[in-house]
Each structure stands twice: as C-alpha cells, then as structure tokens.
C-alpha cells in the first residue's frame, strides 16, 4: 500500500471553497453551511492510437501521449508521444532519449545516498535498464506528483548494467526502435512493479540495484520500500485513481493500417467510466504453478481450466498450443503456421469460445477470433516487405511448451471495453470491496 496521502478532487474543492468563504475580519459571522461538495470532473480520458510506432516496426501496440514534468508543480515538462499502454505491468518507464526528457531535472531515488537503477527483463530475453526518478506525471487532466518512474538509459549498452540483467540472452531495448515505443505506461492491477518481494533485504529479487558508478557494472542488489518503487501512476492521480477503462474500436478480419480507442482513468468515478452492466468482473487471485504464486484468473477451454491473464502489452493472443486448440471441435483446423512458427494458421476464420472465470464464481463465455497468421503477417509492417498493417484482432499463437496458459493480448481488446481495477483502491459500487485485495479485471 502507498503511504502517501491522497487529496481527492472533492476534498480539494472543499478546501478551496473554505478559503473563498473564510469569514473576513469584521465580516459576517454567519455560519457557512457547506453541504456535499461536487468535485469538478477533470478530463479523464486520452485517445489511444495503434500504429507502427516511433520505429515504424510495431504490431498491435496501443499508444498514448504522456506528460512528464519536473517535480514540484513546475511547468518544465516533456510531452512524450507513443507511450505503450500495458495492462500487464505497473509503472511508467520512459526512454531518456524520448522527446524533451533530456531537458528535465527529476528527483533521483536513492538508497543510502546511492542512486537506484532497475533491470526489467522480458521473457524473450530482452531487457531495459535505467535509473529510478520521481516525476510529476499528467495524462489528460489527471495529475500525479512525485511518482517513481524508470528512465531507461539511452546508451545502447549502458556501462553499469548489472550482469544478471543481460543473462536472458537478449538485447538492451534502450532505443525507440528496439522498444517500439518511447516508453511504457504500466496500468496493471498492482500498485508497484515489484511490491513486497523487493523490500525484503534477505531475499531481494534482482530488479533494483544500487549503482554508485555509471561506468562499471552494478553488483549490489537493492531492497527498495514500496513507496519509492516504480509505481502505477494511475494510483497516484489526485482523482480517478482506482483503475482504468480501455475501450478499443473494432478491427476487421483482414487487419488495418491503424487502430484507435480511448483510455479512461477511474472506474465508476465519473459519468464516462461507469462499469457497464454487461461487463463481468473477475477478481484476481493467487495461482500456484510449480510452487510459484502469482495472480491470475482462469480460462476453461474444452472442459479443461487454465490460468489466464489480460495483457494489452502483448501483441497477439497466446492461447494454449495448436494440438490442444485443435483437439476441440471449435478449434478444428488450427495449425502452427509453417512459415511463422508460433502463430496460428487456419484455412477459414475461427471463433474460439472459452469461459473466463475467477475464484469467486464469476464466469462468462467469451471468445477470441483467429485468422490465418501467414496471410495477416504478410500484410503487416513487421515483416518489412511492403505491408502496412499494424492492427490485427485475430492474430493468435501458442507453443507446445506453453500448452497450459492463456494470455489475452491487444487483439482481445478490439471491439471491447476492458476495465483494470488496481489492488488497494476502492472498487466502484456494485463490486465487492474484497476485489481490492489483488485487483480485478472486467470485460
């Protein structure tokens, strides 16, 4: 949980009203009766764009523009376009080389006076490395002060990157071409990117590092209190801080050159972000896989239940493996693409139904669309052979060694509204407060 005190919009209005109507010297002594204060709604939505990104190489990446400012209410800000919306992580990460960032003077996060850096490894072995800084962050009309963010080092291979960070075998993603974005806006269900496991000095995870030098590899793993870990900026907003609502427009079965949508802040806090009566709310709950505990919901396909995760940062839907999918009548004909292994191919469009479920008994039938991966990829910018499409609602894939997992990536979001409720924040009315334990999804 965050220790910082929040001033709500309503609270702020009340304070201002109190100041305005302070009885002056010798003025009226009549009692001011303030009844309910209606907060003036702030602009809580920002346009989302799916396009080829700053490197002209992205697929199914949803971008927004984020403003990052020097702390302390200054007007020294950088307006950063093409920041990827990622419901699968928490915290804002921006490239040091992103527009305007080099002109900022942010507040270093330190441990015992030594700057704290972070290594974030991705499953494919690629990684980002960079310093923790506190910044004021604004998106639409929402403002957050002193948010711990990560500034991703601009050098292709920063000299002080910890040796374990590169142990995945991949590349440093410290450029907009490599990252396929100018930054990542992690608006997942967690308050911080690591949480309690990075605060225990005895068993600290290798995310945070104390780096006294910028020229030699960091070797000191750091325990960092949650208050200064890279944090979901939405939870730091003065208002509309209990989650997000992401509405994406539909994309046709042949793909599209671009996609669009809207990211709303808050769930049920304003008239434009009400929890739809048709949406089912799923509480995240601890899932144990080979003794590792993490939070998820589940998906039941062909009478077997698997763990499921909703992640706008993934560019396709990962759904089990070809053999498991094709074993049910609904998935008949799905094969591994011969030229693009890991993607699903099919001679005719498939609508794959499954049941989304949580541990509280909430469940609903949903589906994903699967088109022919080879045909779709041919039309995309990713293969760099003349294709111009960047948005696909029916790209899916899977692997035999991952035949027990469902990840609903950005294709799942097209034509839908997906809500992400942040753990530790009050859910809207109609949603059990117990859902705040680990956060929730609704769709």
């Amino acid at each position: 949980m965050n220790l910082r005190k929040k001033l709500t919009g309503g609270g702020l209005f009340a304070v201002l009203a109190g100041l305005l109507f302070l009885p002056g010297c010798g003025g009226s002594s009549s009692t001011i009766t303030t009844t309910t204060t209606t907060s003036t709604p702030v602009a809580n939505s920002v346009p989302v764009s799916v396009n080829s990104g700053p490197g002209n190489n992205a697929l199914n990446a949803a971008y927004v523009t984020v403003q990052v400012c020097n702390p302390g209410g200054t007007t020294k800000c950088a307006t950063i376009p093409d920041v990827q919306v990622d419901t699968g992580s928490s915290g804002l990460r921006i490239l040091a080389s992103a527009p305007g960032v080099s002109n900022l003077t942010l507040t270093q996060v330190t441990g015992n006076g030594t700057p704290v850096y972070e290594c974030v490894q991705y499953a494919d072995g690629n990684y980002v490395w960079g310093q923790l800084e506190q910044a004021d962050v604004s998106i639409a009309g929402e403002n957050a002060t002193n948010v711990p963010i990560q500034v991703i080092a601009s050098a292709a291979a920063p000299a002080n990157v910890s040796s374990t960070c590169a142990s995945g075998g991949g590349n440093n993603l410290g450029t907009s071409t490599a990252l396929q974005a100018n930054g990542i806006l992690g608006v997942g269900p967690a308050q911080q990117d690591c949480g309690i496991l990075c605060t225990e000095s005895s068993e600290v995870l290798p995310y945070y590092w104390l780096c006294a030098s910028t020229s030699s590899p960091c070797t000191t793993n750091a325990a960092v209190p949650t208050a200064t870990q890279v944090s979901n900026p939405v939870a730091f907003f003065n208002s509309d801080h209990n989650g997000v609502m992401l509405t994406m427009d539909s994309v046709g079965s042949s793909g599209a050159a671009s996609g669009s949508g809207t990211l709303y802040f808050g769930i049920g806090t304003q008239t434009d972000n009400a929890l739809s009566s048709s949406a089912k709310v799923y509480a995240l709950s601890p899932t144990t896989q080979n003794e590792l505990v993490y939070n998820s919901i589940s998906a039941t396909y062909n009478n077997v239940t698997y763990s499921a995760y909703v992640n706008s940062g993934e560019f396709i839907n990962f759904f089990l493996d070809p053999a498991t999918v094709a074993a049910a009548p609904a998935g008949a004909g799905i094969t591994n693409c011969p030229l693009n292994s890991g993607f699903y191919c099919t001679s005719s469009a498939v609508i794959l139904p499954f049941t989304a479920k949580d541990n509280d008994g909430d469940s609903a039938q949903v589906s994903i669309n699967i088109g022919d991966g080879t045909t779709l990829l041919k039309s995309s910018v990713a293969l760099q052979n003349g294709g111009s499409n960047t948005a696909f609602s029916n790209l899916a894939g899977g692997y035999a060694l991952a035949n027990d997992e469902v990840i609903l990536g950005l294709p799942f979001f097209y034509g839908r509204t997906v809500y992400v409720g942040i753990a530790g924040e009050a859910p809207p009315s109609g949603v059990s407060t117990s859902f705040a334990a680990a956060g929730y999804w609704a769709f």
Binding site: A123, G125, G168, G170, G195, Y399, L401
Partner: protein, 147 residues
C-alpha cells in the same frame, strides 16, 4: 500420469544432488553459490529423476536427469528470469542468437529445432520456461513430462 513417485527430501546437511547444465552429465558442474543457498529436493520417477531447487528469491528450477545421468531438460517458474547461461550451458548461445534476431519485441521466445527445444514466457514477477534436448530424452519418456 506418474506411476512411481518417490520424493526424497534432501536437506542441506544431507547428500546434495549435483547440478549440471542442460546436456551435461549430472555432477559435471559444481554447484553454484546461489543454487547452494536453495532448498533442494530429488524426485524419482519411472525412467528419469528430477532435481528441484527453490532459491531464496522463490525461483523454482527443475532439472530432469536420464538414467544415463545426463540432464535432458530444464524448467523454471520464477519472479525473474533465472541464470540462463548457467542452466543451459552450451545451448545458451542458441538462445542468445535467437533472442537478438527477434524482430518483434514482446511475447515469449521459442526455439524449435531437431536437437534443441526452448520456450521462455511470462512477464514481470511471473516468468516460466523450459528447454529440452530431444536426442537425450530417456526411453519411453516424452517432452510432456517437462513442467
């Protein structure tokens, strides 16, 4: 499923199963300092055995050993990517090549070749993956046992 399963809990004071990289003989590599600090367990299955270690950071790493004593598969579930050079040994450069050649950032990394199969998936705080050498799979054992 598993017809015979004996789990021997071998505590730190007891005999430690030796750890080795993928494709190497059990015991060919000395125990890494980090691994030594974990709790090690040995499972004996029909046709193969598994060394499992849970490190202080909560990483669960499983090493599958054939009756001939060779490590034919590795798997992990962890809050961070494990030390892949150590786990994969001579196969790690293949992961490096594949990772660095990847055009599309994001998603898992998978390698499917005749003599090496690899998958690494997940996201921050939840990583999992496995690798095996098809040619080293023990008799009557399929890759389906790798979890």
């Amino acid at each position: 499923m598993i017809t015979t399963l004996r789990i021997l809990l071998i505590l730190m004071m007891g005999v430690l199963p030796a750890w080795a990289a993928l494709g190497e003989y059990e015991g060919s590599v000395s125990l890494d300092q980090q691994i030594l600090r974990g709790e090690i367990r040995e499972e004996v299955h029909t046709g193969y055995k598994v060394h499992q270690i849970i490190t202080p950071g909560g990483a669960v790493i499983r090493e599958y050993v054939s009756p001939e004593g060779k490590v034919f598969a590795i798997s992990w579930h962890a809050h961070f990517l494990p030390n892949l050079p150590q786990l994969l040994g001579s196969y790690f450069p293949r992961v490096q090549r594949s990772a660095q050649a990847k055009v599309q950032h994001g998603g898992p990394l998978a390698i499917q070749t005749g003599d090496f199969v690899y998958f690494s998936g997940g996201r921050m705080m939840n990583y999992h993956g496995s690798a095996y050498v098809p040619g080293l799979l023990p008799k009557n054992i399929t890759a389906g046992v790798v979890r």
